[in-house]
Symmetry: C2
Subunit: 336 residues, 2 copies
DNA sequence: CTGAAAGCGCTTACAG
DNA sequence: CTGAAAGCGCTTACAG
């Protein structure tokens, strides 16, 4: 049987309370007694029962993370790296991460997962919500614990959020292409209406304007989030003709576009200069290697965890919610 | 405040015991009373406190999963897909998955994670151990719950394990190359001594033998698990000359090799025919797209979860441990 | 057919 | 400076 605190107390000949206090360093215990307790714990290979601790203290030292990850989808990679950033910094502060991924891309699933987390007494929630409006959190979370949003800017519920500077990344990519002399620069984006896509489009427009280039809506293709859709957008842009450069605003679409270009034997960058999104490993081994906008995914996770810890330590007193905006980075390779 | 079972009992005017029994369907309750309880639960938006349930019943309905995932490493993808397979089938059986990834690739970390799981009362452990010998589990797990191993065959501790048929995959890849007329077929493998690498090497040898080709150790390069190491192995094989085909036995190394070939402008398959390992999305968009051995990663996860559920339901009575070996698949594309 | 009560393994006021 | 006891929210023998 697993030894409990009672067994430790008996062996050390002290009270249960004392054992608890030496474990948690929560009140003064004489050195002599401390030693007895430590050695008893060691002898029994005692580990506190986390479940009992949670029940009693109404605190689980656990932060829930909800992230939309489809099976076998390349975009996994981004959120997985974020998750690792979160986990590694939570660990430093003595917290654990409970991961739940929304495989269905449905909002109901997301809600269900939060309710599950609630029943496990999480101390905080970090979420990359798929909802455009996260107002539903008002009913489910009810400010019982802090919520930190990642990737997108939340609407309808207050919370810190950490995002990558997609605006700046997009701006820099398009500016680079324009400076290389390209006048007709295609743009492939994911569904609009969410903050990430919106601001990347803004960056595109802004760069064009600054470079004195006209904004031509026919050069902008909105894709659904799939390889195939990216492929198809590239196909259409190619068929319509006229572009000499292409910027793709997310990683799944970048892959789809590259699939199309490789199949049609478009020479890069001679026939078409290309800049993609997200610095995935595979972008290094395409022909030629791809210039991309890098999002600091691990750092996003770290920052989200830090924000969470801060919130928990501060308590409810601070009503001002912060936006943490992390810089993106232009990674130059052979494709433009 | 979150309502507890007591509040439900009061509102429904029944005992706590009765509420518990209708929740768990664990003894007869008259329809009339059931209805009262249900409506009280709904009215209060009641959810049982999972922590209290675990503590009392000494069962958490949670399966721990430990998997070695390095930050920003492409190999993440394999285990992530496995994890999704596990999670989706556990969910069907009312279990949750608790994920812990060993970021350090160190055995001590692995042990620490298991101890943490223990303190959370997990009902079972699914693990892709990095240890060559998992005998240490005898001390930590002590048969308190079932262990299912994935990816590799365990040594030193008994448990079901589910693996992909690397032997068959490797055999088919090399056979294909030989049948296309290649006589000198290079082989890049990860560290030997673990079941996965070992059996892929065996498959290579077996295919050569069957095709009447000599086994030449100088064509076999053992790499450490990194992009760079794969790159370097390709470089060496190229420098030493003589190979017309190359089979790479895991995905990280495949990427490294492709990086090298692309940089040295080796034409594929004209100069060198290539077969890689693992059907990652990016293998579709290399130039040319890559022929690979596909491992059924999601299915591995599903099978592991099924094996776990079976063990838990069977109890301790069945001492015969099973190997589940899932077929790999040759995915033909342009690189050979 | 249903209820009162013990107890899972802890933490934390309350006493002394 | 340390201990005895209540209680977190459930499940589950034991009674009737």
């Amino acid at each position: 049987m697993r030894p409990g605190i009672k067994q430790v107390a008996e062996l050390a000949q002290v009270s249960i309370a004392t054992v608890s206090h030496v474990i948690n360093n929560t009140r003064y215990v004489s050195n002599e007694i401390k030693q007895k307790v430590y050695s008893a714990m060691e002898q029994l290979d005692y580990r506190p029962n986390a479940v009992a601790q949670s029940l009693r203290s109404q605190k689980s030292n656990t932060i829930g993370l909800i992230v939309p990850i489809l099976p076998s989808d390349t975009s996994n990679f981004f959120f997985m790296t974020v998750a690792q950033g979160i986990q590694s910094t939570l660990k430093k502060h003595g917290y654990q991460m409970l991961l739940s991924n929304n495989t269905t891309e449905e909002l109901e699933e997301e809600k269900e997962q939060i309710k599950l987390f609630n029943s496990k007494l999480i101390d905080g929630l970090i979420i990359a919500s798929i909802a455009e409006d996260v107002g539903y959190l008002n009913d489910i979370v009810r400010s019982r614990y802090p919520v930190v949003f990642i990737d997108r800017k939340p609407e309808g519920y207050n919370g810190d959020h950490v995002v990558a500077d997609g605006y700046g990344g997009s701006f820099n990519a398009v500016k680079l292409l324009a400076e290389k002399g390209h006048r007709r620069i295609g743009f492939v984006t994911g569904t609009l209406g969410i903050s990430t896509s919106n601001e990347r489009l803004e960056g595109y427009k802004k760069a064009l304007a600054e470079q004195g280039l006209p904004y031509d809506p026919s050069l902008v293709k909105v894709a659904s989030p799939s390889f195939e859709s990216g492929y198809e957008c590239a196909e259409r842009l190619l068929a319509e003709g006229g572009i000499t450069a292409l910027f793709i605003a997310n990683n799944v679409l970048t892959m789809g576009v590259m699939g199309c270009l490789q199949e049609k034997k478009i020479r890069i960058p001679e026939d078409l200069a290309v800049v993609g999104f997200d610095d995935y490993d595979w972008t290094k081994i395409t022909t030629p290697p791809l210039t991309v906008i890098r999002q600091p995914s691990f750092e996003i996770g770290e920052k989200a965890a830090e924000a969470m810890i801060k919130r928990i330590e501060e308590g409810q007193d601070n009503p001002e919610f912060r936006e943490y905006r992390l810089p993106t980075q232009l990674v130059l390779r052979g494709s433009c």
